[in-house]
């Protein structure tokens, strides 16, 4: 006669998209008494006897008595306030009501008394607003006994703060894109404010379903109250039920009072399920909303996108001259030009050269550095024609020279350098070491790299003196656009999708194809067998066995 109990009292977390006010929970408490157990046992015996033999039907006698004293079943909605006997007596007295909430309870209790009376007897609830919700004694909340095996344990400072936080309500400010209009700094925080904001916590709405498990004559004693189920929810669809729904398993066990009576608790989810038509309608509404939003977005900008003409590669360079360091003199500025080789063309209204501002250096580490953060951008198009198919693609070059200008208007060249436009799109941070050619200046800046007049195979700079000077740092962001990339990308994606579809079934496909091959071979074998004379059958059957075993091992 040992009942199995469900000892898993942990909380279960559910997520829902529905509103929490649709939640309904069916709670059932049942006392385990000796007569109840005995009568159940007798019932089983009698029933089994009846099934075995054809005895006379006997009516089982159960002690009718007050059935409602030992069991109660109730469906409770979210934040539905059900009064206990104690509360009925308390709120009947108008003088005891202080807060507006209690006065409202008083009116409700009076109305209940005039009507049929309350529908619950033992089971009652504490909603989020009740002051009792906060001050449930710690041993009833059962949290300390879960962690440690000592019976007496005092909650720590943090635990106290956390429990009082969990039952408090709403103080959430939703700050979206805009700046909050309210004061940002609270110069005089209250104790409650400190408690709410100093601990990271999701504010939850709580509800406790309790039961008064005293003897039936003495209902209404506060000591006999026992916590059955706690339901917590935050605003965003998380529902925590402690203990979890039984879902057909054994009921929970509650032991109460000095007499140590045992009660059985069963918790079930009794919320109404949404009908499929309603679900479909909701889905349709959401889908319409999303398509409307997409259409609105599209209408803002338009569907088209500026594309280069066919066969043209558009190259977009967003660059910045960041800094220059390690030069001899102060007050540096940079003069840069962009050179486009053959087959490249730039847009007509952009300038391919520029001058930065003059910057006085400051010491950073061992070197003096000047900051420019000068933005420039260049858009160039490359047309591929038949003649140049054999030669390598030449990328545009950025030539620059660093000059210094002092307060006496002396202008001095500090160095020359060049930078090749990156061939691979992306972001590049490039450092360029310089060289300066003595005191005369370079007439043709392209001499820095490969002179424009160069036609031979080997470049010789013999006789050209230079010394290394400083560094200039550039940040280059490069993007390339061409119509042919569209097809390549689309093809790659389509192939990937098709491969994914095939890949998922590839193993299955392999197995099934092998099986098909085996079936075909077998059929052929059978047909051949029928046509052969009888004496050869034995050898062929052996062959068949071997063949089938070989195929099976694949």
């Amino acid at each position: 006669m040992t009942d199995c109990w469900n000892t898993d009292n942990g909380e279960a977390v559910f997520r829902t998209r529905d509103m929490v006010k649709n939640l309904r929970i069916k709670v059932r408490v049942e006392k385990v008494t000796s007569t109840a157990a005995l009568s159940q046992h007798l019932q089983h015996q009698v029933l089994s006897q009846q099934q075995d033999g054809g005895a006379i039907e006997l009516q089982t006698l159960t002690s009718q008595g007050h059935k409602g004293d030992n069991e109660e079943e109730l469906v409770v909605g979210w934040q539905e306030k059900l009064f206990s006997q104690y509360e009925m007596e308390l709120f009947e007295n108008e003088a005891a009501c202080q807060t507006p909430l209690e006065r409202q309870y008083h009116l409700e209790v009076k109305a209940l008394k005039k009507a049929r009376g309350r529908r619950n007897r033992r089971i009652f609830t504490y909603t989020d607003h009740d002051r009792y919700t906060n001050s449930l004694p710690f041993n009833q909340l059962q949290y300390s006994s879960i962690l440690l095996n000592t019976s007496k344990s005092w909650p720590t400072f943090l635990a106290e703060r956390m429990t009082s936080l969990r039952q408090r309500g709403q103080d959430q400010q939703k700050i979206d894109c805009g700046v909050p209009k309210a004061k940002i700094i609270n110069w005089e925080p209250t104790e409650e404010f400190v408690r709410n904001t100093h601990v990271v916590n999701n504010v939850m709405q709580t509800m406790h379903i309790m039961a008064d498990l005293g003897p039936p004559e003495k209902l209404g004693q506060k000591e006999n109250e026992c916590l059955l189920v706690t339901i917590k929810t935050d605003g965003s669809g998380t529902v925590i039920v402690k203990p979890d729904f039984n879902k057909g398993r054994e009921p929970y066990r509650i032991v109460t009072g000095e007499k140590k009576e045992v009660w059985r608790l069963t918790v079930e989810n009794a919320s109404t399920v949404m009908k499929p038509e309603q679900k479909d309608r909701e889905q349709n509404i959401y889908r319409d909303l999303y398509t409307q939003h997409m259409d609105y977005l599209n209408s803002l900008v338009g569907q088209d996108f500026e594309m280069p003409p066919v066969g043209v590669l558009r190259y977009l360079l967003n660059g910045e001259i960041v800094s220059a360091k390690g030069f001899e003199y102060d007050n540096l500025y940079i003069h840069f030009t962009i050179e486009l080789p053959t087959n490249w063309s730039g847009s007509p209204n952009q300038s391919l050269s520029g001058v930065t501002h003059t910057c006085r250096t400051k010491p950073m580490g061992k070197e003096d550095v000047a900051f420019f953060s000068h933005l420039f951008s260049c858009e160039a198009s490359y047309t591929c024609d038949k003649e140049s198919e054999g030669t390598l693609l030449q990328w545009p070059v950025l030539y620059f020279k660093v000059l210094s200008l002092d307060s006496w208007q002396r202008c001095r060249t500090e160095g020359y350098g060049y930078l090749l436009f990156p061939a691979i799109p992306g972001t590049v941070s490039a450092l360029r070491r310089f060289f300066i050619g003595g005191s005369p200046e370079l007439e043709d800046i392209s001499y820095v790299r490969i002179p424009g007049t160069f036609k031979g195979e080997r470049l010789s700079r013999f006789g050209f003196c230079s010394e290394t000077t400083g560094n200039v740092t550039f940040n280059l962001h490069c993007m390339q656009q061409a119509r042919s990339f569209v097809d390549a990308n689309m093809l790659r994606k389509k192939r990937q999708r098709v491969l994914n579809q095939l890949g998922g079934f590839s193993q299955q496909g392999a197995v099934s194809s092998v099986q098909e091959a085996f079936q075909r071979a077998r059929k052929k074998m059978q047909e051949a067998q029928e046509n052969l004379p009888k004496d050869l059958i034995s050898s062929t059957s052996q062959l068949q066995i071997e063949l089938s075993s070989q195929l099976k091992t694949i």
Partner: protein, 175 residues
Amino acid sequence: MAELHIIGQIVGASGFPESSLFCKWGVHTGGAWRLLSGLKEGQTQVDIPQIGDMAYWSHPIDLHYATKGLQGWPKLHLQVWHQDSFGRSQMYGYGYCHVPSSPGHHRISCVTWRPLGSWQEQLAQMFIGGGPQLRSPDIIYSGADRYRLNTEAMGSVELELGIIMRHFDKYGVDG
């Protein structure tokens, strides 16, 4: 129509003469770009670091752009200001940088410079602060008159930006 998400933060600034700084920032785009959501300019709080040189703001940047073309790629402009103990604000630097054009996480260090006046103005600046400022930060983008400026190098601002590009490959853009 292609979309660009810029999600990141202005981490902080370092290398300035004084450390109690705040930053005014903004994003400038061309005509083909449309801001779908997010704030495209703002101002951080004033940070006064107790230890060390770097002032930390961790100011969020969350922008969603839609565009019809590649021209006018977004650029970020920054102004770093110093607030002293009397509550006076002084310009400490202008900085400009492009928003990266390749998707992924980028850590950008944007350097800043401050315009310099004549030597009398510089002397006054040493004692009472102040100093010349640009009439409007946008004139930098035209680029033509920049060479007239006489500046000095200041510190640098650190940014972390995450770039997400959508539908760009459909139009053949390789970033």
